[in-house]
């Protein structure tokens, strides 16, 4: 069942898999919806491991980084791990500009990322 509008949520073992549905994460409305959907998802879990899949995302505003930062801290506080994958070069540029590629755990694709959780 598809319970969210902006994200597709699933689980591999104990790891929450979140796939962004949008091609463009640019305007504040989309961002706010993504935020509240992810918060709803983690609200139910304690110290979750999470993998964010950017496979669909072609354009992303730097405001999205704020959300990822919040998420990063929240998950770390519960001793969980946040990882990201399938980030295309244009999007990776947004991370690189702000040095956040060094803060976040970023992987080529989902299998590679999942392997690093063990």
């Amino acid at each position: 069942m598809d319970q969210f509008r902006r994200i597709q949520a699933g689980k591999t073992g104990d790891i929450h898999m979140v796939l962004f549905k949008d091609k463009k994460i640019l305007d504040d409305t989309v961002l706010d919806e993504i935020k509240s959907e992810i918060m709803t998802l983690i609200g139910k879990a304690s110290g979750p491991d999470m993998l964010l899949d950017f496979g669909n995302v072609e354009f992303m505003s730097s405001a999205m980084l704020g959300l990822l930062g919040t998420l990063h801290r929240k998950i770390a506080a519960g001793h969980g791990r946040l990882k990201m994958c399938n980030i295309r070069p244009e999007i990776f540029q947004v991370f690189k500009l702000t040095n956040l590629d060094k803060l976040f755990s970023i992987h080529k694709d989902a299998p590679t990322a999942l392997a690093t959780f063990t």
């Binding site: 504040d28 935020k35 354009f59 505003s61 730097s62 405001a63 980084l65 704020g66 959300l67 930062g69 919040t70 990063h72 801290r73 929240k74 540029q93 500009l97 702000t98 040095n99 956040l100 060094k102 803060l103």
Partner: protein
Amino acid sequence: MAGVDVVIAEDSRIQAKILQKRLTDAGHAVRWAENGSDALVLVRERRPDIVISDIEMPVMTGYEFCKAVKSDPGLKTIPFIMMSTLSDPIDIIRGLDAGADNYVTKPYDPDYLLGRMQSLLDSPVGDTTEAAMLEVALAGQKFRVHAGRQQVLNLLVSTFENAVAKNQELIATNQDLSVTRDRLQQSNAELTNLNEEISRRNAQMVRDLEAAAKVQRSLLPAADVTLASAEVAWRYVPCHSLAGDFLNFFPLDDQHAGLFVVDVSGHGVPSSLMAVTVGRFLTPKVSEQSLLVRQGADGGLVIASPAEVATQLNRLFQADEFSGLYFTMLYGVLHLPSGRLDYVSSGHPALLRAAAAGGVEFHGIDGFPIGFVPDVEYEQRSLQLSPGDRIYLYSDGVTEAMDKDREPLGDQALADFIAGSRGQPLEQSVAGLLETVEQWCQPNGPLDDVSILGLEWRQAE
């Protein structure tokens, strides 16, 4: 009313079904034919207690059917009800001439029809042997009608009753209409009030935004600020009325100048509120809040190192879960006599140097945006300027400016433009860079705030 035997003539199958159901429900036995001719057969087969007939029917109309019944001595006393739309007064004359006893107008009220049947059955139709030729004038025409007195009376009374019933319906409809109209007028008035309220609030909001924009402009360089041995030029274009970007330069003491570009994530009200808050800490005036300068133990002025400023800001502005706002900053302190620039970057685009001797190069430092990672120590670097060297600080609204195909302007285009403008005065170079960004973004214009701060250092005489 005890169940009676009814014959109906109606060419519309649906109308007939409805009528039949009504009559059957009321306990009557019903026989139906779809035209006058077939109905006449039914009437002759077995004499019914009452006949109800439509007028417009194929093969044999209601008038012809009625005439046939009324001219048959054995059948003429059967009460005959005509169902008519009564759209034409001539219908009455025709009904009279045909010998009909009663009119019920379509669309009919079932209870009214049943009531009509009842009264006809209660007062049986007399033998209208006294039928005579009557002359009637209607709508300027004379008609000769063959009718009995009782029949004329019945028919006219029923027509009158119909007219009264229709009139009452009309009055009721009129009253409904007038109630609806009153409601509509009320709703309209409410809508007008709401519209006025929206206009008022909108005007208030515009005033608030203008006030906020004014507060935000106070974060920008004062018009009369000059530096002893440096020339500064800047451009600042918010993409909405309120921005997340701001920039400034100012003397810190007689030997040092501070300069920065700050870019708060997002735009609009939340980002600009954050910008104003951050701005209060980046003031060159000694105060409780200033992170840039403070009073030393000996009473002298202490200038905080850029790294110290970034580290302090990061401690103060950890992004909360609610806003998720963070900011990037490039802050430099220039020692005016020597041309040494100490600077720090918190996830901000690299500064660009255009050397007097030619050539441009980027100078970036790795550092997370302010608010991302708690308790991080920021690293600072130094850059030694030569006389005539220029440095450019800018927000990512410059390099990330997107054209209509969402292709960013990029570092190379920036470096190329700055190198090309080396021969022009600094003011012209900065203005030209903004123009380049705006051209790139045609036809939509920049989607992000654009900030550019250029500085050319001259050795003091």
